[in-house]
């Protein structure tokens, strides 16, 4: 099995401003990668390129052995910082929209699977509510379930807990950890270093559009190679 995600010299500009500078990265199938870095470092942009939400201007990117825009629909799932649930649909309809319209499942089939997944993210009894009636943590778990309904091979997380109150962060991270244990290929942009230490196979550090350092949690937490990463860890771990 080749890499799930592979990028070489990936570069992207907004006008004259280069947001990604020659990023090289390989994520193997089943691997869990955490990307961290200060805001504006380009970490979200990397993930959004993989999800085919952003075009890039230089380098190569292959996702599941093909170009990002050729990936089978639904194979790459993504969870956003702002949840982005569909506010006009019930929780259940949020989950079944993709399976019914894209995977052409029957409604009964899609609903059965959706209820299973709501069970798995521990909100079985909210299926008929609107997203606006749920707490932030619950909404984010619905968003995870919505992505899983498409039976993705890779899951992307773009700061999934940054918009949540502290007491809700744990419930979302628990669901993500469980997903990791089930062998999902995951790329997470997050500052939750406890989660990174427990779950990540590797941690990548980005700054100013560059991939500064990448290594196993043991490596980077005990002896980061670059000063910039050491500074960053110092800042976020001392709080």
């Amino acid at each position: 099995m080749s890499a799930a995600v592979k990028m070489s010299s990936l570069s992207k500009w907004y006008g004259d401003f280069q947001v990604l500078k020659d990023i090289d990265l390989k994520v193997a199938a089943g691997e869990k990668l955490v990307i961290c870095g200060p805001s504006g470092s380009g970490k979200s942009t990397v993930v959004r390129c993989v999800a085919n939400l952003e075009p890039y201007q230089g380098g190569d990117l292959s996702v599941l052995d093909t170009a990002p825009d050729k990936v089978r629909r639904g194979d790459v799932g993504m969870v956003f910082q702002q949840f982005n649930l569909f506010p006009h649909l019930s929780v259940l309809d949020n989950l079944t929209l993709g399976p019914i319209r894209v995977l052409k499942q029957s409604r009964t089939e899609a609903e059965a699977r959706a209820r299973d997944l709501l069970d798995r993210v521990k909100i079985p009894d909210q299926a008929d509510k609107r997203p606006g009636q749920l707490s932030g943590g619950q909404q984010q778990r619905v968003a995870i379930a919505r992505a899983l309904c498409m039976e993705p091979k890779v899951m992307l997380f773009d700061e999934p807990t940054s918009a949540l109150d502290p007491e809700m962060i744990a419930e979302v991270l628990d669901v993500m950890e469980e997903l990791a244990r089930d062998g999902m290929t995951m790329i997470c942009v997050t500052h939750e270093m406890g989660f990174a230490r427990r779950v990540a196979d590797r941690i990548a550090f980005m700054d100013a559009g560059e991939m500064v350092e990448i290594g196993t949690p043991d490596q980077v937490f005990t002896a980061p190679k670059s000063d910039r990463f050491a500074d960053f860890l110092d800042k976020i771990l001392s709080h």
Binding site: V76, G77, F80, F86, H88, L97, R101, R146
Partner: protein
């Protein structure tokens, strides 16, 4: 607001009594034979005004949708026709456009070898529809663009096509923002249909004008005319409010 109504009515009544030569409600007094004939003559204008307004509003929505679509593109060259149409049509006052459609369009068509005769009714429908469509298009565009970008992105990552995203995610959310201003625009059409009187369409205003010419009582007849529009617009605007309440209750 409601407190002033009895006061205004009193003022009106007071001015009717006494001094001869001010008010002469006899022209539209339903208890006299002549007054009743006049009233019926005026009220018959409702059907044309309503028909023209409904047809024009319907056509305006269709044209507006067609004009909106290129306006949503990320490519500025694709957006250009939308901008030109909206800016151009919006800049033309209704009355000149009405004259142009009624007197000019048949000539243009004739020069292209198409012989058509535009009657006042269709002249009014076409003009109101085109004039209003620029506004309708803007209402559609702003309603659709007000749906957050994240909704499109979330649709994209669960694999929905662009058309599916429009149909199942964007439009159902945009419609809440579109309907209230669209209904307001309908009120505008109803009022502007009065201009059709100048090309001879027998709607509310035209009939009032004709009656004024024979009865020489402009004050009473135009007062009644205003009342006719007021009733029509109040009915529509209460429907709009009902619609807004329903939309709002649906939100959460």
């Amino acid at each position: 607001m409601t407190r002033f109504l009895p006061f205004a009515a009193l003022l009106l009544l007071a001015s009717c009594a006494g001094q001869p030569g001010t008010w002469g409600w006899y022209v539209v007094d339903p208890t006299t034979a002549n007054g009743w004939v006049n009233i019926k003559f005026l009220l018959r204008g409702f059907s044309s005004t309503i028909q023209v307004s409904l047809l024009a509003a319907f056509a305006s929505i269709i044209i507006g949708l067609l004009i909106t679509m290129p306006g949503l593109s990320a490519n500025r060259w694709v957006r250009l026709p939308n901008r030109i149409y909206v800016e151009f049509i919006r800049a033309i006052p209704l009355l000149p456009m009405l004259f142009w459609v009624f007197y000019g369009l048949p000539v243009v068509m004739k020069s292209m070898g198409i012989q058509i005769n535009i009657d006042p009714f269709w002249g009014a429908v076409i003009t109101l529809a085109i004039s209003d469509s620029a506004f309708t298009a803007e209402i559609f565009r702003s309603g659709i663009q007000a749906v957050p970008r994240g909704q499109t992105e979330a649709s994209s990552v669960i694999g929905l096509s662009r058309a599916q995203t429009m149909r199942y995610v964007i439009l159902p959310q945009a419609i809440r923002r579109i309907l209230p201003p669209l209904a307001n625009q309908f009120i505008y059409i109803v009022k502007m249909s009065a201009f059709a009187s100048v090309i001879g369409m027998q709607e509310l205003t035209r009939r009032a004008n004709e009656l004024v010419v024979t009865e020489y009582r402009p004050l009473e007849i135009y007062s009644l005319l205003i009342l006719e529009y007021l009733v029509l617009v109040l009915i529509i605007s209460s429907a709009v409010r009902w619609l807004e309440r329903r939309m709002g209750a649906d939100e959460r």
